[in-house]
Amino acid sequence: MNKTASVVIIGGGISGCAIAYNLAMKGVKDIVVVEKNFLCSGSTGRCGAGVRMQWGTEMNCRLAKYSIEYYEKANELLDYEFDIDFKQSGYLIVAATEKEDAQFRKNVELQNSLGIPSKYLTPKEAKEIIPYMDESKIISATFCPKDGHLNPFHTTQAFANAAMRLGVEIMKYTTVTGIKVEKGRITGVETDKGLIYTPIVVNAAGGYSKEIGDMAGVDIPIYPERHQILVTEPVAPLQGPMYMGFALNIYCQQSPEGSFIMGRGDANEPRDGRINSSWHFLEEMAKSCTELLPLLGKLNVVRQWAGLYCMSPDRQPIYGPVKEVEGFYLATGFSGHGFMFGPVTGVVIAESILGETPTIPIYMLDKDRFTRGELLLEPSVV
């Protein structure tokens, strides 16, 4: 059955739901979110659920700070019936190489200048935060108490519920099969449930946003990268903050219900969108974890899964309209950080569509920065 919408958002993850909510809050009617599966069945629901302000570029620091400050109040702002379970127990980010150590000193300086309360720590000071870590494996660490984690399913649902109360329609189990472009303008979205006439499409399809771009004839320089996670049985509270290392390629956190969750990616894998689980990951992750946090070797792994990072060339988001097709907006290329940037994504994309002054200027995050050669390379990514 065909229908008409003022905006069609492709992707029912955190970005799509937050964009829909912000547009609806600004009075836009007839917004449709199209989701191939169920809400946060893609990257949002598969992510490690951590959020941090400790970044290496000013842009990412500002995007993250805005989002985390939003998450602090999200239950109330979104009037959510359950709890998004936001716990700010900090991130301990460890440096394992001299290069990393030098970068971290610079990062802390940048972060502090933007009002982010991070600090530089010696291995001994780091061990006071996680007593069972092997501090001989690190050179230094940084810690920010404002970082934390929250439940991606509930958070996405909170945005979705608030959006639906404002009249947004969310079409679950609906697959986009094509995007209609006439004379350089968006005219509709084809789905397996019919055609939706619309002048505006937002591509918030995460790991699948390259394909969506291709449907509109827009080449987006991104690729999917599989990242895997394992989760252990729940145990009594043991570890407050996230333990993270970039050179060590690990993040490891105890979630509120007691299980440890840890993960990593492998940049050398084929970029074919695979999301199956591998034995290799289980073994390698276990080796790293038991080496760095030996006590955790006693824990049973109960489940593993995989999801897609949507990698951009400079590991920063790609936001806003594109030159090639009028009415086609991007909210993609998050490179593994779409969930933590969800609130700010919702705000800046809604502002961009409505032509409003942006809360945080994002014009330099447009797609064409890559052809201009104006990359804003983020050094601190796991």
Binding site: Y173, E257, T290, V301, R303
Partner: protein
């Protein structure tokens, strides 16, 4: 099969099931008596002559469903508890199944019990509409159960405990109750995977071994679909819990 298991097969039942037209007219006796034995109280109890007179006392009863008005006298008189009264006109969605019940305690009218099939497997939640226990029943009370209409020829007994109450724990690892699952289904969560993500049912150490099936049952009941038509949930490795230390090498997985 019947001789070995004591459970009627679909072929056995095909012979004794009243026609659809007759079912649509109101209460009727269904006689699930499959063995030739010297027994005839059902025939003598029927005041309407619906059960044909026996030529040989070993004959199996033969009932004319058109003459039967579902009064239930035969059911109370059957020593084998093999006669049931089925009323498919009770409501659009529900049927009444009246079962002879010789256990104590008797259920209370208005309470909920668990409907069991011929094998004793729980199949649905059933409301006790009436417990008929007068002199005429001669200590074989007839309990009227309200069941989903499609189970009118399935429910044949009940357990007095309400397995399917809202308080029943569906996921023991994460302590999710049936009531919580039902509430999520009412709110529009359409699959086991959606319910798992929002409630954590199935995320614990057992990995959904118990709750997956129970949630599927609940989704099937709510949507009127067969379980085989529902979206399958994702099964994730490892198949059984394994220690990080064992995966890394050097430590045994006890």
């Amino acid at each position: 099969m019947l001789e070995k298991t004591g459970i009627a097969t679909p072929e056995n039942l095909a012979d004794i099931t009243p026609s659809k037209d007759r079912m649509a007219k109101g209460p009727v006796a269904v006689i699930e008596c499959f063995q030739r034995i010297p027994c005839n109280p059902c025939q003598t109890a029927c005041k309407r002559g619906a059960i044909k007179e026996f030529e040989d006392i070993n004959d199996r009863p033969e009932i004319d469903h058109e003459k039967c008005n579902g009064c239930g006298m035969c059911a109370s008189n059957c020593p084998g508890l093999s006669i049931f009264i089925i009323d498919e006109t009770y409501s659009d969605e529900e049927a009444l199944v009246k079962v002879p019940y010789e256990f104590l305690p008797l259920p209370e009218e208005g309470s909920y019990v668990t409907g069991l099939d011929r094998e004793g497997k729980p199949v649905c939640r059933a409301k006790v509409l009436k417990v008929l226990n007068t002199k005429a029943q001669d200590r074989t009370p007839i309990v009227s159960l309200v069941v989903p209409k499609e189970l009118s020829m399935t429910v044949r007994c009940f357990n007095i405990e309400d397995y399917f109450s809202d308080n029943t724990m569906v996921c023991r690892c994460e302590e999710v109750t049936l009531g919580e699952v039902r509430e999520l289904i009412r709110k529009g969560y359409q699959s086991v995977d959606e319910i798992k993500r929002i409630s954590r049912a199935g995320m614990g150490p057992c990995q959904g071994r118990t709750c997956r099936q129970l949630i599927m049952q609940e989704l099937a009941a709510a949507t009127g679909k067969k379980m085989s038509e529902l979206r399958m949930s994702t099964f994730r490795p490892p198949a059984k819990p394994i220690k990080l230390g064992a995966l890394a090498g050097g430590e045994d997985n006890e």
